[in-house]
Symmetry: D2
Subunit: 137 residues, 4 copies
């Protein structure tokens, strides 16, 4: 991955009713679910599959999160989740995310999440080299 | 709505990681969220919006559910939610739903949900006539 | 289990904000999560643990659900989940559930859920005999 | 609130099955729901109710989150959510949270969340003075 031109994944969907709360807006925990779906899409678009990564015995586990809530999303609104790789280390990745209103492109939410690579024993492990190579491309 | 040829809405998406549970499959409550998203899509496809229905002071509230779980869905699987109107009464609707594996078209889940129409006071109300006409078309 | 005197588990908790939706009430999928927590409590109270059942290689998987929504629950309301065994067969169980307002004892929700016993291969299996004996006590 | 001796709310409950994901641990978004339930408990313990705050026309809305995931929680584990006020400003509050294993008191998760006070029009507003006084006590 060249820093000058990182791949940015964009996934769009309508806000589900179940994702709202009594305030009438999307519950703040839901954005983490969307961010995760954005990471899944990012990996899928690169021809990989996070499900396969897990089957090979490695897990990406959230370790550190920063998130900013800028504007509330509402039921049925079309939103776009943008996700890109912010950092690749031997044992850790960071993904960045923005959630936009799909029409106005207003930013509703932004976040940065660090993930550790764990092996099946639950220990922090090196990210497998083929996967690292792919991530750095 | 002619029973011979009801409109069937089809919405497809990937299973989100957050929708799985420790068994490795989609949690059984999540299918209700998908069914609901299918109803939203159904209404959207007809040029209506459930958000507008609520703004006009009417609410559709779940009253009776039958659901059958046939095959488990997994993370990242592409699923298709099919939703159609099963019944229209003056104060009550029923929607039916099937969740399919998008590729094999195997049925994973089927359900039937009755919903009451409530007004802002929380009382059971007649479904507004323009909306009834639209539903019966 | 003697039908004359089944064990009924009662678990009480406050409705969480995240469990509400834009209608201002608890989302209808959440009751399934509460019912499940009631089953966990039921098993815990009998000195068993569903986590151990899974570690021993057996899984209880939802197969058939009937649910009735009677009265809406709200944020912060204290609710009581009552769960009991409705049926024990060699390969299948059924649990029943009522959710009450803890104070008035009004019934908000009632449901019946059939669960299959699966083994690690995902095939329907006999419920292990020690566990069956315990269930029938 | 004297910084030397802030009130710390402690709420304990079992991890629900629905809160786990395919990795076998609690999904990372769920901790935000627990943190929120801890804030509800905090307010409840002080003789206030967040539901009443909303009825009086004020809303506390998440604006900035920092979270660290230290150890994974599992189904049926007894966890304790500790919540305290970290900051009171005229238009903004910050709550801090730790989730512990109830037995070992190991810390699984820690977070700090800033919340804005909004009025019914959705504008940032001063926290009502009686509530501010109570918060600063």
């Amino acid at each position: 991955m060249s820093k000058a031109d990182p791949h940015i994944s964009e996934t769009s969907f309508h806000v589900r009713y179940a994702e709202t709360d009594a305030m009438g807006f999307v519950h703040h925990a839901v954005y983490l679910v969307w961010f995760e779906e954005g990471r899944s899409a990012f990996i899928r678009e690169q021809g990989w599959s996070y499900a396969e990564i897990e089957r090979s015995g490695y897990f990406l586990v959230a370790s550190d999160l920063r998130a900013r809530y800028l504007k509330a999303a509402r039921y049925d609104q079309l939103v776009t989740v943008r996700v890109w790789l912010a950092q690749v280390k031997s044992r850790q990745l960071a993904f960045a995310c923005e959630v936009l209103d799909s029409e106005s492109r207003d930013c509703l939410f932004s976040a940065n999440l660090k993930l550790h690579c764990l092996n099946r024993a639950g220990k922090i492990a090196r990210i497998p080299s083929d996967w690292q190579a792919w991530l750095r491309e």
